[in-house]
């Protein structure tokens, strides 16, 4: 069973539909016991980093997510859920993240050329680092496949934990991984067959 962490932020309708479409048995839950019993966990999120980090802490689910991740359970953060996996975020002040993957979440405006619009919104191609094997998360997709992004902040300084990037002036972090913990900046649930194939690969990890 796959558990989608419900900590009161965002609309999980599309995500649960996409999981159903790939045949995954998914429950949306904020219950510690259910999360503990799940085989794998998805951490979604929309909105601002600080609010979401606070909501996660207030619900006590930060502790549960950390415990399950450290126990080796596959964890996938999506969009803001990915950003929360990193050390800290700088949206409206500095806020602590879960620290499961090294890196910081910063505004992309200062790093992209002025002619590029922010938010980085739309379909962009994934590029995999050349010096490392392709992540198992991408076993069913190919270099250059497009996925759907909507974000104004991005993970930075993730180093060797970056498993995919998207060119937007500089390369922006599109996905990260460390051991059993994965994060994608884009929305696999809105990225057509490519996105479904990424979710499918996660369900097989």
């Amino acid at each position: 069973m796959l558990a989608v962490v419900d900590y009161g932020v965002g609309n999980l309708f599309s995500l649960t539909c996409s999981l159903r479409a790939i045949g995954a048995e998914a429950v949306v839950t904020g219950d510690e016991g259910v999360l503990a019993r799940a085989d794998r966990v998805i951490l979604p999120g929309v909105g601002a980093f600080g609010d979401a980090a606070e909501a996660l802490r207030a619900s006590g689910l930060d502790r549960v997510v950390l415990r399950e991740a450290k126990a080796g359970k596959p964890l996938l953060g999506i969009c803001l859920g990915m950003q929360l996996l990193l050390d800290y975020g700088t949206e409206y002040g500095r806020h602590q993240g879960l620290g499961l993957i090294p890196g910081a979440v910063r505004a992309i405006r200062p790093v992209v050329p002025p002619a590029y619009k922010v938010p980085h919104m739309g379909w962009n191609a994934l590029h995999f680092p050349k010096d490392r094997p392709v992540s198992p998360l991408f076993r069913y997709i190919q270099e250059g496949d497009c996925v759907y992004f909507v974000h104004s902040y991005a993970g930075m300084d993730c180093g060797e934990h970056t498993i995919a990037a998207a060119e937007y002036g500089p390369e922006l972090t599109a996905a990260v991984a460390r051991d059993n913990v994965y994060g994608v900046q884009f929305h696999p649930e809105k990225s057509g067959p490519v996105g479904l194939n990424i979710l499918k690969a996660f369900c097989e990890l």
Binding site: N11, F13, S14, C17, S18, R20, A21, V46, G47, K117, V118, P119, H120, M121, G122, W123, N124, A125, C146, Y148, V150, E167, Y168, E189, K190, S191, G192, P193, G195, L196
Partner: protein, 252 residues
């Protein structure tokens, strides 16, 4: 490099697609769900559903259609038509919409944009503008293009973006239905004043019109059309191939 988006628009009334549709491949051409699946399968980057229903029963039917579409189509869905309140945003977002487009509702109450943006984020609020040349000015029209609001389109769009609109759909009434190409002059004037994505609408008649649009105005992010897609006059895979051959980035 971000891909230029191609967006078919479906007008829905009482749960059925109303603009003529002509696909031999589809068993039920008037079903928004079937049409959405079809477009998604052939490479549409996003879908716009325009609800032109007036009655409450029709609205319920519409949200039901939206939910059924979102259950099986996994690309961004934008909903417009009759959005007057933040509750209208809530109603369609809960049924699977990703973005909500406001037009007359924002003209009647401009604070709708800022209130919705604050609640759901700028990326969720699309300002759709029907504009037409009047006395040497681009004028905003409301009520489906029937009513001259007296607002200057450029000023209106600038203030909309300032209030939190995350995307602009510019529909030129002057070129709409003429099939002689997008309104490059009007689009250019809008692109000059905003730094959010701009979606061109009105006037596309053939593949070349999209090529000209993206080559002439690199700041335009997407092209939207309805009947030329519905009647198969322009096929999306063919259109994307043509754009790709001209070096215009698309999602294949």
């Amino acid at each position: 490099m971000i891909a230029k988006r191609i967006i078919p628009c479906l007008d829905v009334r009482n749960g059925r697609v109303v603009k003529g549709v002509n696909f031999q491949e589809l068993a039920d051409v008037d079903s928004p769900v079937e049409l959405a699946k079809f477009y998604s399968g052939c490479g549409a980057d996003e879908l716009v559903f325009y609800d032109i229903t007036a009655s409450a029963e029709g609205r319920a039917l519409f949200t039901d259609i939206l939910r059924k579409t979102a259950e099986c189509v996994f690309i961004p869905l934008t909903v417009g038509g009759g959005i007057r309140t933040v509750d209208d945003f809530d109603r369609v977002l809960k049924c699977g919409a990703d973005k909500v487009s406001v037009n007359s509702g924002a003209v009647m109450d401009p604070s709708l944009i800022s209130r919705a943006a604050k609640r759901y984020g700028d990326q969720c609020v699309v300002l759709s503008v029907d504009a037409k040349r009047v006395d040497g000015q681009f004028r905003v029209f409301a009520k489906g293009g029937r009513e001259d609001t007296g607002l200057d389109a450029i000023t209106w769009i600038k203030s909309g973006v300032k209030n939190g609109a995350g995307e602009i759909v510019l529909n030129s009434i002057d070129t709409d239905g003429v099939k002689d190409g997008f309104d490059l002059e009007m689009l250019s004037a809008v692109c000059d004043v905003v730094d959010v994505p701009v979606i061109a609408s009105g006037g596309a008649g053939c593949v070349e019109h999209f090529v000209t649009l993206f080559e002439t105005l690199p700041k335009v992010d997407a092209g939207l059309a309805a009947s030329i897609f519905h009647f198969g006059e322009v096929s999306i895979p063919e259109l994307k191939r043509a754009l790709g051959e001209k070096g215009i980035p698309t999602r294949l």
